[in-house]
Structure formats: structure tokens, C-alpha cells
């Protein structure tokens, strides 16, 4: 037994307090950079938002900044349509790929297959766009010109968000306790039925979070979409109609835009930012709920 030491002392508590202070300052600095960015966007949008023309973003029938037409709705629809279609395609494919990796793939394939998906996640969007422009668009044009279309944009987006869906779904599936599938097997459920009735429902919230994050990525994607979507400002009527997304619009025009026009481009950036941020927050909620379920 060691000799009794007085408890009053300041030295050893010092480390943690200074660490906490350092980290707090680091956090504040980081947060303030983020704050700066948001402020910057707001400042840039001010001319467009403060003017009498707020409503024009909705009421103007199209987007002709040089002729004072600032209707954003067609581009919003284009953005939403391409994203929705991409999610529609990527979700089953991504979950399928995740299930394949976990349950069906022959052992020697698992690692290469996962590596392949990881690599897919790292390919530059310019490369996707390049491939889309030279391979995919002409292919579609052969059936239904012009080729550069909602369909092309959605397909490229699908490939781009697949890794996000697949990798995050796999993580969610892996976090389902072993005992669940064991229990299902004990009930005599087949592999397919176990997956559909036990595994997927248990991993549901994780998969949902994956889909939401993928949606955010699809909404924010710029370069690849710009290269394959045709960039015509119109509300798409069919899969083969060209569209322009909000991000592509920013990238196409920002370098040339001045004053009010430039400001409106920031407005579209702000709209997009809010949509994606809302999605991200929703994803957190879902994930959080998933976390507390597991704890319970």
C-alpha cells in the first residue's frame, strides 16, 4: 500500500485541460472556416436575393441570363430527375453487390471484387465524363439522338454513386449481429429468405443512410454530368431529352458571368447546398436511430 498522498494537486489535471482547450480552439477555427464559406456564399448571393427579383427564379420560364431570364425550375427538375433515376438504378445494384460480396461470392473473388468497388470510388469524375462523352453518349445517340440526355447523365451518376451505396451497405450488413442469421438458419430459412427477411430489415437504416449520402453526391456532381447531359435548359419530357443540372449550370457559366448573373449562380449553389445539407442531416438522424437500436 502506498503512503497516503494528499489529493489536492493541480499538475496532472493540467494535461487534459490544455488538450481540451487546444481541441476546442481547433474546432472553433474549423467551424469558423465553414462559417466563412457560408458567409461568402451569402455575400455573393446578396445582389440576387435582395433585389425585387426573388420570385423570378421560379416564375421566369427559362434561363437566359444574357436576356434577363432567370427561371431555375427546369434545371431543378433536371437535377432531381437525373438524381432520382440514378438512385433508382444504383440502390438495387449497390445492395446486390454488397450481398454478393458478403454471402454469394466465391472466396477467391471477394477481395478483388471489393477492391474493384473501392477503386471505382476513387476514379475522377472527369474520367467518368470523358468515358461518357466518347463511349456512352454516341451509343445512346445510335438509338435515339442526341444521346446526351437525362439517361446518359443518370447512367454516369449511377456508376459514380454505386461504390458509396455498395460499400456503406456492406458495412451496414456486416454490422448485423451474427446471431440474427444464426437464428434464422435455426428456423430453417433459406439463405435468400434469411437475407430478405432478417438481414436486410436489420440493416435497413444503415442502407438508407447510404442511399441518402449517395443522393447527396449525385446532386452535387458537376463535371461528369456537364460532359454527358446535353446542358439544354428544359424540363425533361423523356429519358432521351437533354437536361441541364444546377451544378453543370454553375460550372458552365461561372467563369463568364458577371454581377447579377454571377449572383444568381450562387443562389443555385446555395439552394443545392441546403438540399444536400438537409439530406445529410436526415442521414445522421437515421444513422443515429440505427445506433440506438443496436444499443437497446
Amino acid at each position: 500500500m502506498q503512503p497516503v498522498q494528499p489529493l489536492q494537486s493541480v499538475t496532472s489535471a493540467h494535461t487534459d485541460r490544455s488538450l481540451q482547450l487546444t481541441l476546442f480552439i481547433v474546432s472553433l477555427v474549423t467551424a469558423s472556416v465553414l462559417g466563412l464559406i457560408v458567409l461568402f456564399i451569402f455575400r455573393e448571393t446578396l445582389p440576387a436575393l435582395s433585389g425585387p427579383g426573388m420570385l423570378r427564379f421560379v416564375t421566369d420560364e427559362s434561363w437566359h441570363p444574357l436576356e434577363n431570364q432567370f427561371g431555375m425550375l427546369p434545371m431543378l427538375w433536371g437535377t432531381l430527375a437525373s438524381t432520382a433515376l440514378a438512385i433508382f438504378l444504383a440502390t438495387p445494384l449497390g445492395i446486390g453487390a454488397a450481398l454478393f460480396c458478403r454471402y454469394f461470392a466465391p472466396r477467391p473473388i471477394v477481395r478483388p471484387f471489393r477492391a474493384l468497388i473501392t477503386l471505382l470510388a476513387g476514379i475522377s469524375s472527369v474520367v467518368f465524363g470523358f468515358w461518357g462523352l466518347t463511349v456512352l453518349v454516341p451509343l445512346i445517340a445510335r438509338f435515339e439522338p442526341p444521346g446526351a440526355s437525362l439517361l446518359a447523365a443518370s447512367l454516369i451518376l449511377t456508376i459514380m454513386i454505386l461504390p458509396t451505396v455498395a460499400l456503406m451497405s456492406e458495412a451496414a450488413i456486416n454490422s448485423v449481429p451474427e446471431s440474427y442469421s444464426g437464428g434464422a438458419a435455426a428456423l430453417g430459412l433459406s439463405k435468400g429468405a434469411t437475407i430478405r427477411q432478417v438481414i436486410l430489415p436489420a440493416a435497413k437504416s444503415g442502407i438508407f443512410a447510404a442511399v441518402i449520402l449517395a443522393t447527396a453526391r449525385a446532386l452535387g456532381e458537376t463535371m461528369a454530368v456537364l460532359m454527358v447531359s446535353g446542358n439544354v435548359v428544359q424540363t425533361p419530357g423523356s429519358l432521351f431529352d437533354p437536361i441541364r443540372t444546377l451544378t453543370a449550370n454553375i460550372a458552365l457559366e461561372m467563369a463568364y458571368a458577371t454581377q447579377f448573373h454571377r449572383s444568381t449562380l450562387f443562389v443555385s449553389g446555395l439552394v443545392l447546398t441546403f438540399v444536400i445539407a438537409a439530406l445529410a442531416i436526415a442521414a445522421h438522424r437515421v444513422e443515429h436511430r440505427a445506433g440506438s437500436h443496436h444499443a437497446a
Binding site: 494535461t15 488538450l19 487546444t22 476546442f24 481547433v26 474546432s27 474549423t30 467551424a31 466563412l36 461568402f40 456564399i41 455573393e44 438495387p92 445494384l93 449497390g94 446486390g96 453487390a97 454478393f100 460480396c101 454469394f104 471484387f113 474493384l116 468497388i117 473501392t118 477503386l119 476513387g122 476514379i123 475522377s124 469524375s125 472527369v126 474520367v127 467518368f128 470523358f130 468515358w131 463511349v135 456508376i159 454505386l162 428456423l187 430453417g188 430459412l189 433459406s190 439463405k191 435468400g192 429468405a193 430478405r196 452535387g220 463535371m223 451544378t247 454553375i250 460550372a251 449553389g269 443545392l272 447546398t273 441546403f274 438540399v275 444536400i276 445539407a277 439530406l279 445529410a280 442531416i281
Partner: protein, 309 residues
């Protein structure tokens, strides 16, 4: 588990005892069919994913391999990149990445540690930072570019430089890295924190010896995602690190990144396609190398610090 094994025990559990034998049989056939369909669908999905990936890579490799050579990697670009190689661009890319990692890792890990270990979830500051992170993750990359230009290049006077580019990319990579580190830390069993506290260890010691090493794989994964996003970034870099394809002499020099180079070659330079394909191939290779190295480093770091069972 094989589908057949379900036959022996499933009926008793899944069907009511009163069901006649023939109905049981059709139910079995039905179950078997849907099982087959399901398996087929999964295989099909996997095949489609693999096929689309291989298609893209094969296309790039097919067009790019002819141009790819050792001298392509070691020579400076000539004639706007049509001739020569990409050595200067590789160097700029790596420098930009180095700045990004050097800034984003300490900041990101620091913020994540503060959020998950020191702040209370419900505190106002923590909530504000969390929301700021979500918003940040949602900003289109071109807006980052314009912000980086206005703030780092002009306001801070860093000009078009590798530092400006790296800092801008660090802002982009931060949310990903912070989230990954946070989730990595939250996956570390609470028992270890309690154990460390009960031993009178400082939080710093617990973090350094146990919590961060245990979260290292998640941090690495987040960092790789962040690097992947950074290295693929075009729009944000055109406005910050710039377009100059000279060999950078310091971090204050402007330097063109690989993705910007690829975009310029394929969109602005007639006759640049082949070089663009080859550069794209190099970019993919670079990512593979970075991934491998990062995972190695993180494993070694983990091994040197912790020994999971």
C-alpha cells in the same frame, strides 16, 4: 446454407400444421423458385457492377497504354501536354495532396476528438459545428473553388499556389474525415474509456494509447475517401492552385493538378485525347498506390500501438 436444407425443416415452422401435403409441395417449389431468382438477381447485380467498371477501365487503358511509358512519367509536358509527359503535374498533384493531408488530418482528427470525447452532444457549440459540417459536405465543389480563390488566394494573399489549392481541398475533405473519425471513435467500446478513467489516466493518454489506434482503420478509410475526392477534384483547383504546368519550386508556386490537366487536355487541347487517357490511367494508378500505402501505414501504426485479439 443450401436451399435444399430448408426443405427438411421449413414446412413445420412456416406452414400451419393443417396444410395438406400437396400445398406444401407447391409452396416448396415456389420458395425454391424465388430463392433461385433472388440468387440470380444478386449475381446479375454484381456482374453489372463489375462489367461497367471493367468497361471504363478497359476503355481508358486501351487508349492510354500506347502513350504510357516511363518517360511519360518523368518528362515535363510540351505543346500544352500533347507531347512530353506529366512529371511536373504529378509533382504538383502530390504537393497539393501533401498540403491537404497535413492540414486536414490534425484539424479533422482534432475536431472529431473534441466532438466525440470532450463536447456534450447536446451543447450548443457541438450542435453548431455538426450542422456546419453537414452544410459543408453539401457545397458544390465549384463553390469551394470560388471561395478558395476569394479567401486564400486574394484575402490571405496566397495567390494562385499549391498552398491555396491544398487548403481549399482540405476544407472539402474535412467533413468526410471528421465524420469518419467520429464514427471510428464511437465504435470503440466504452469499456476502454471507463477502464482508462478508472486507472486515473488522462484523456490524452487514453486517446493516444487506446482510442485513436483502435479508430485508426476508420480514420484511414475517411482519409482515403477525402483524398479520393481531393485528387479527383477539378473545379475547385482551377481557381486556386491554377493552371501553370511548370515544375513548382515552392509551395507558393501555382501548379496544375492531374485532374485539371486531364480536363484541359480533353476539353481545350485538340489532339490531347491520348495524353488525357494516359493521364487518367496514371491517376487511377496513383490512387491505387495511395490506397495501398495508407492502409499499410495504418496497419503498421495500429500494430505498433494496439494488439486486437
Amino acid at each position: 446454407m443450401q436451399p435444399d436444407s430448408s426443405v427438411s425443416c421449413a414446412p413445420g415452422l412456416m406452414a400451419a400444421p393443417s396444410v395438406a401435403g400437396s400445398t406444401l409441395l407447391t409452396a416448396q417449389v415456389h420458395a425454391k423458385l424465388s430463392e433461385r431468382l433472388f440468387v440470380a438477381a444478386v449475381w446479375l447485380a454484381a456482374a453489372l457492377v463489375a462489367a461497367s467498371f471493367l468497361w471504363i477501365v478497359a476503355d481508358i487503358a486501351f487508349h492510354g497504354f500506347a502513350k504510357l511509358s516511363w518517360s511519360f512519367l518523368t518528362e515535363a509536358p510540351r505543346s500544352s501536354g500533347r507531347k512530353g509527359g506529366i512529371s511536373t503535374i504529378l509533382v504538383s498533384t502530390l504537393l497539393i495532396l501533401a498540403v491537404t493531408v497535413a492540414v486536414a488530418v490534425p484539424l479533422g482528427v482534432g475536431v472529431a476528438v473534441w466532438l466525440s470525447e470532450f463536447s456534450r452532444r447536446s451543447s450548443r457549440t457541438a450542435r453548431v459545428i455538426n450542422i456546419a459540417l453537414d452544410v459543408l459536405a453539401g457545397i458544390p465543389s465549384i463553390v469551394f473553388g470560388l471561395f478558395g480563390n476569394a479567401f486564400f488566394c486574394v484575402f490571405l494573399g496566397l495567390g494562385f499556389s499549391i498552398v491555396s489549392g491544398g487548403l481549399t481541398l482540405a476544407c472539402m475533405a474535412l467533413p468526410i474525415l471528421i465524420r469518419a473519425t467520429e464514427s471510428g471513435l464511437s465504435a470503440v467500446p466504452h469499456d476502454w474509456r471507463q477502464g482508462a478513467a478508472a486507472l486515473g489516466l488522462s484523456k490524452a493518454a487514453a486517446l493516444w494509447h487506446v482510442l485513436l489506434p483502435a479508430a485508426a482503420p476508420a480514420i484511414t478509410a475517411g482519409l482515403l475517401l477525402g483524398i479520393g475526392r481531393a485528387v479527383a477534384e477539378t473545379a475547385a483547383l482551377v481557381f486556386t492552385s491554377g493552371y501553370v504546368d511548370r515544375m513548382p519550386e515552392s509551395l507558393m508556386d501555382s501548379g496544375r493538378s492531374l485532374a485539371v490537366h486531364i480536363y484541359d487536355l480533353s476539353m481545350n487541347v485538340s489532339g490531347g485525347d491520348q495524353a488525357a487517357y494516359a493521364s487518367a490511367l496514371v491517376l487511377i494508378g496513383l490512387l491505387i498506390v495511395i490506397n495501398a500505402v495508407a492502409i499499410q501505414l495504418s496497419n503498421r501504426f495500429m500494430k505498433s500501438r494496439i494488439q486486437p485479439a
